[in-house]
């Protein structure tokens, strides 16, 4: 076979592959084998010259294209109808089975249905974190207020005449952080008591966490004069001791 003849044979094979593409394997292979056999027989025909062979292949290919198309369309429609029949054959028993099951379940008394919730509402609720547990209460105590420790105070007043009397005491809070850190000690607050019994000009030594707590408490103390004496200014010295309870 000449190169042109080989080329034409390749064209015939290529076209056959195209119009049999994606057909059922049995149909596709049968047609391809048939064309292959035809090509072999024609190329080995002793009565046919090389030029005739090329012409025959070219004309047989081009003149048969319309029939190839029509054949493929027929094969596809056959395949589709077969597929449709298969699907129908499978679907009919399924539908009948479902119908029978629905009839059977209809005879069974229905269980009470649980109240339905809208899905999004349910999700919203489930997304919320659970409420925090209540704060721990002191063992044996019903109060939920925080329990503080306080510093012990002792004070002295220097004045002319009778010393004023303390009428309001605020205890210095032992800072929880100092308790947790194990910080202990004592501080001294020096202040002035006015004629109205208020504490002013207060200073603390040493300053710090404990000193601030002592100063804050002492500044809220109130005094009054004894008896019928006229109120006089006085100097106040307060010693505050912070010791952790054992």
């Amino acid at each position: 076979m000449t190169s042109i003849g080989a080329f034409m044979a390749a064209c015939v094979r290529a076209w056959t592959r195209i119009y049999t593409w994606r057909l059922p394997a049995a149909v596709r292979d049968a047609r391809r084998q048939e064309i292959e056999s035809d090509l072999w027989e024609s190329s080995h025909d002793p009565q046919m010259t090389r030029a005739e062979l090329v012409v025959q292949m070219t004309m047989r290919l081009t003149l048969g294209i319309a029939d190839d198309f029509a054949w493929r369309v027929a094969q596809v429609s056959v395949t589709r109808s077969a597929t449709l029949r298969t699907v129908t054959a499978a679907a009919v028993p399924c539908v009948l089975l479902l119908f029978a099951l629905s009839r059977l379940t209809a005879d069974v008394p229905a269980l009470p249905e649980a109240p339905m919730r809208a899905p999004h509402v349910q999700r919203t609720r489930s997304d919320r974190p659970p409420p925090p547990p209540p704060p721990p209460t002191r063992a044996g105590g019903a109060s939920s207020e925080p329990v503080f420790q306080y510093g012990r105070t002792s004070y002295s007043i220097v004045t002319e005449g009778p010393a004023p009397v303390r009428i309001s005491e605020v205890r210095p809070v032992y800072p929880p952080l100092a308790v947790a850190a194990g910080l202990e000690g004592h501080v001294v607050v020096r202040a002035r008591i006015t004629e109205r019994g208020r504490v002013t000009d207060a200073e603390v030594a040493p300053a710090g966490m404990l000193g601030a707590a002592a100063l804050h408490a002492v500044q809220q103390w109130e005094f009054t004069a004894q008896g019928t004496e006229a109120p006089r200014p006085a100097l106040l010295t307060v010693r505050v001791s912070f010791e952790r309870a054992q």
Partner: protein, 119 residues
């Protein structure tokens, strides 16, 4: 070409005639290319029937029950170092169809020779 129900198109008749001619020559089974050559001989055409036209018509005739086909024994094809053939065979129904289809033409030819008017 539109086909009347229950009739064969000319190509199908020609294929049956060619297959019948092959049988008379002692070839009971034939492959596509062999039939195409025989078809060209009886129709006195130099051009062989197109691939698509020929094999589509063969498939139709087989679906009608006028032809039957089988795959050739692969061992024979392998022995001769060539692709396997699909071998076709004319059925008895096709033989009678060929006789029926050629009878009116023979009668018309006889009438024409005798100078009679066609029926």
């Amino acid at each position: 070409m539109r086909r009347k129900p229950g009739t064969l198109v000319p190509l199908e008749i020609a294929i049956c005639a060619a297959a019948s001619a092959l049988r008379r020559r002692g070839v009971d089974e034939f492959h596509g290319y062999e039939l195409a050559k025989q078809l060209a001989d009886i129709t006195e055409r130099r051009l062989l029937t197109a691939y698509g036209t020929l094999y589509r018509a063969l498939a139709r005739l087989e679906a009608m029950g006028l032809l039957e086909s089988r795959r050739e024994d692969p061992a024979i094809a392998a022995q001769e170092n060539r692709p396997g053939r699909r071998l076709y065979r004319l059925t008895a129904l096709a033989e009678s169809t060929v006789r029926e289809s050629s009878r009116p033409r023979r009668r018309a030819a006889v009438r024409r020779r005798r100078g009679e008017a066609p029926a």
